[in-house]
Amino acid sequence: MGTLCIQLRSGTMMNMDSNVAVKLAKAAMDKGHKVTMFGYGEAVTLIKDGQDPKRFPNVGKEISKMTAEGLEVVVCETCCVARGIHRGEEIRGTKIGSLTNDFSRMAAEADRLVTIAR
């Protein structure tokens, strides 16, 4: 089985990109692949705990479930700080990390890298 790395750059409430990323990750995991996801730019909202959209899919809830099933989710710390998201506010099992240490490792370990952005 392979490893898929998804780089997401859209925020959770900007468009359907985060939903697509979650569905893609789930489909790959269901087939037995390892999946890593890195949130960059607006996509750091992916790991914010307490998401409660009224009429849209709750990406945070999906992320919470999927990290428990083995999905690795890391977002860029610099992007978080710029947007006022700090350590302690992330969904359990996700990580506020870095491009250099985390994304580079994820990309280096991946068999496929998919970028989801607009």
Binding site: Y40, G41, L99, A107, T115
Partner: protein
């Protein structure tokens, strides 16, 4: 990894984010190689005469220079740049290439991410 930059240097975050991502990959020590390919409006990032201080924005040129200083490669599709700005000078060290060469570079990379 190849970082493909398609957006202009200012007005959008993408080009800056792409340059920083390439720099992060370069200094991480875990990527075999990290290169940057500038195409379309992204070729404007190669121009030497940028003055980001005028709009109080960070310099993409500095990030590209850092990549070059770390022996990374920055490629720029020359026809895309020339049709936008004529013969304006680009940062030393950036390799000007044709579209045929750009295709070969993309094909030669296992991982490509687009900004």
């Amino acid at each position: 990894m190849l970082v493909l930059i398609t957006r202009p240097p200012y007005g959008l975050e993408e080009a800056f984010a792409g340059a920083r991502l390439a720099l992060g990959g370069k200094v991480s020590g875990v990527m075999d190689e990290t290169s940057v390919l500038l195409i379309g409006d992204g070729t404007l990032n190669a121009l030497e005469a940028q003055n980001p201080a005028a709009v109080a924005m960070p310099s993409n040129l500095e990030a590209l220079q850092d990549i070059l200083d770390l022996d990374g490669q920055v490629f720029c599709v020359e026809p895309d740049l020339r049709e936008r700005v004529g013969d304006m000078k680009v940062l030393d060290g950036i390799k000007m290439i044709s579209w045929d060469e750009a295709r070969e570079i993309v094909n030669a990379h296992q991982l490509v991410t687009t900004f």
